[in-house]
Symmetry: C2
C-alpha cells in the first residue's frame, strides 16, 4: 500500500506538506506542490478514506433509517436526501429496518460508533424513550412531530385529514372510513386524531370497524374492498393514506362493479403519479422536500426549529 509517507519520501518533502497539497491548503510553494503531484502520479497514490475519517472524527456520511426500500414513499424521501447530501459532499448509508426494533437500534449504535455523522429517521419502530438514551449529543433528525425532539420535519397530517374530512362532508358524506399504513408512529396518530376531531366537529359517528390498518401495498387496496363489501354498514367514503392502496381499491372496485365515487368515494394521499393515472383525488405530499429538509436539519447544526410542510388537494374523480 502506497501511503503519504512514501509520497513525501519520493517528493523529498515532509508528510505535512504532502497533506497540504492533497487538501488544497495554501502556503505551499509551487515547486514542491508539483513534486508532490508528480510523486502521487508516479506511485499511483490514492488516499485512504478511513484514515482521514479516523483522524478527522467525521465521515461525511449520513445514515438513513427506513423500513422498506421498495415503496415509492421512501424512494422519494431518499431522492430528496440524496440530492441535498450530494450538494454538500455527503454520502448516504442505508439502514433498512423492516420495522424490526433491533435493526433500528443497530443504526443508532453505528452513529455512536461514528460510522455516520448523523441519522435521519424516516419512520420509527422503537419508542422515543428507548431511543433517547442512544442519541445524547448526537445529530438525529426525525420525520415526524415528536415531542421532546429538537430536529424534526413533518407533513401536517392532522390538518390534511381535517381538510379532507371537511371536503368529504361538503360533498355530503357523513359515513367516512380510514385506511392507514399503521397505527404506531406520530404521523399515523396525527391522522387518526384529525379524523376523530373532524368527525366530532361535524357531529358524525366514527366506527372502529371503518378503520383499516396495515394498508401499504397495491394489493392491500384490493383486500380493503373485500372487507368493505363484507361490512353490514358501509362507509360511503374512505380516506386512504397512500396512493398505492387507493389505486388498488379503485381498480378492484372497477372489477367488482362498485361505482367510484357514487358508491364509494376515495380521498387519497401522496399525489404520486399513479393517482394521476387512476384519476384519484389526492393530497399532494411534498415527500421529496421532506427529504431535502431532513438533510438540511442535519447539516445546519444549530437549525433547531421544526419544519412543517403543508399539503394541497388535487381534485380528480374519486370524490
Amino acid at each position: 500500500m502506497t501511503n503519504i509517507r512514501k509520497i513525501a519520501q519520493l517528493a523529498g518533502v515532509s508528510v505535512s506538506t504532502v497533506s497540504r497539497v492533497l487538501n488544497d491548503h495554501p502556503y505551499v510553494i509551487e515547486e514542491k506542490r508539483q513534486k508532490v503531484l508528480a510523486a502521487v502520479k508516479e506511485l499511483n497514490y490514492i488516499k485512504n478514506a478511513n484514515a482521514v475519517y479516523l483522524s478527522k472524527g467525521k465521515t461525511y456520511c449520513i445514515g438513513v433509517v427506513l423500513p422498506f426500500l421498495n415503496l415509492p414513499y421512501f424512494g422519494e424521501i431518499l431522492e430528496g436526501i440524496a440530492g441535498e447530501a450530494l450538494k454538500h459532499g455527503y454520502h448516504l448509508k442505508i439502514f433498512q429496518t423492516d420495522y424490526e426494533k433491533d435493526a433500528e437500534l443497530d443504526a443508532f449504535h453505528r452513529l455512536q460508533m461514528k460510522e455516520v455523522d448523523g441519522l435521519i429517521i424516516t419512520s420509527r419502530a422503537n419508542s422515543l424513550d428507548t431511543l433517547h438514551s442512544f442519541m445524547e449529543g448526537l445529530n438525529v433528525v426525525f420525520c415526524e412531530n415528536l415531542h421532546g425532539v429538537a430536529k424534526k420535519v413533518f407533513i401536517n397530517h392532522y390538518e390534511a385529514v381535517r381538510t379532507g374530512m371537511d371536503y368529504l362532508h361538503s360533498k355530503g358524506h357523513t359515513d367516512i372510513g380510514l385506511c392507514l399504513h399503521r397505527t404506531f408512529g406520530t404521523n399515523s396518530e396525527e391522522r387518526v386524531r384529525g379524523f376523530y376531531d373532524a368527525a366530532e366537529a361535524a357531529g358524525n359517528e366514527v366506527r372502529e370497524d371503518w378503520i383499516f390498518n396495515e394498508c401499504i401495498h397495491l394489493k392491500d387496496g384490493r383486500d380493503v374492498v373485500g372487507q368493505w363489501e363484507a361490512l353490514k354498514d358501509k362507509p360511503s367514503a374512505l380516506i386512504v393514506t397512500s396512493d398505492q392502496v387507493s389505486a388498488g381499491i379503485v381498480s378492484q372496485a372497477g372489477r367488482k362493479g362498485i361505482v367510484v365515487p357514487d358508491e364509494l368515494a376515495i380521498l387519497s394521499f401522496d399525489n404520486h403519479p399513479i393517482s394521476d393515472v387512476f384519476d384519484i383525488t389526492s393530497f399532494d405530499m411534498p415527500i421529496r422536500q421532506l427529504g431535502e429538509e431532513a438533510f438540511r436539519l442535519f447539516f445546519e447544526e444549530d437549525h433547531l426549529s421544526p419544519v412543517i410542510l403543508e399539503t394541497s388537494l388535487h381534485e380528480r374523480k374519486t370524490v
Copy 2:
C-alpha cells in the same frame, strides 16, 4: 473521548486484552473479562468504527451504484442486496448517479479509497473502457452481461424478448414496436438484439419509428400513446420494458378509447404488482433475486461464474 486505552487502565489489563474481550476472542480468563466489561460499562465506552476499519483495512460496507432511487426496479434491487447484506453483517452505501458519468466515477473512487469494500453497479453510464482503469484488483459486480467482466449477474433479456416476440407472433401480430428505458447499456442492447433477431426470423419488418426510447415513468406511457396515435403506420403490439410505462399506456389508451388488446396489444416486463392491477401480461423479472445474487457475487470472493436469471411469462389481458 474514551478509548480502549482508558478501559485497559481502569480494568488493570493491557489494551490487547481489552481488544480480545471486545471481539469475543478466546483465551481471556473470566475474571479479567468481567473487569473489562465493568470498565466498559462504567466509562460508557463505545468502540470507534473508523479506527477498526483503518486497522483492518475493511469496512463491511458495500457501495451500490444506481441512477434513481424512486423507481420500483431499483427499490427492489436494493431490497435484495440489503437483505443478503444484512445476513453477513454488511451495510449499504448509496451512490445515486442520475446517469451522470462523474457521479458514477466518484463511486469507483470511493472504492479505491477503501471507503467501501466493493461496488454493485446496477446500471451504468460510463463505458467499460473508462471504468476498467478504476477497478483493477477491486471487487466490482455488474448487473449486466458485460464482456471482459468477471463478476456479473443479469436477467436473460435477449431470451425474454425473443420469447415475447414469438408469443406475439403466435397471436397473429406481425407489426410490433418496442418501448425501451434507454438504448445505452448491455441490457437494453440485448433486448434490441432479441427484438431484431425475432423479427428477422419471422420475416417481419422492423421500423425505426416503432422503437420508443426513454420510457421510464408512468407518464412516459401516456406520451407513447400520443406518439403511437400520430403514426401513419401503427404497430398492433408493443413490447414494453417496464410495467410502469405499460400501466401508463393502458390507462391512457382507456381514456382515448383505444381498445387493448384488440387495437393495441401490450406485452410488458417486470410483473410488478401494478401489472396485476392493470391486468397487464408481463414477464416476471426476478429483480429482488438479482440484488441477492449481486451481493453473493461480491461476497464470495472467488465466485467468478456469471449468474443468469430467467424470466417467465404471466399471461393476463393485454395481449
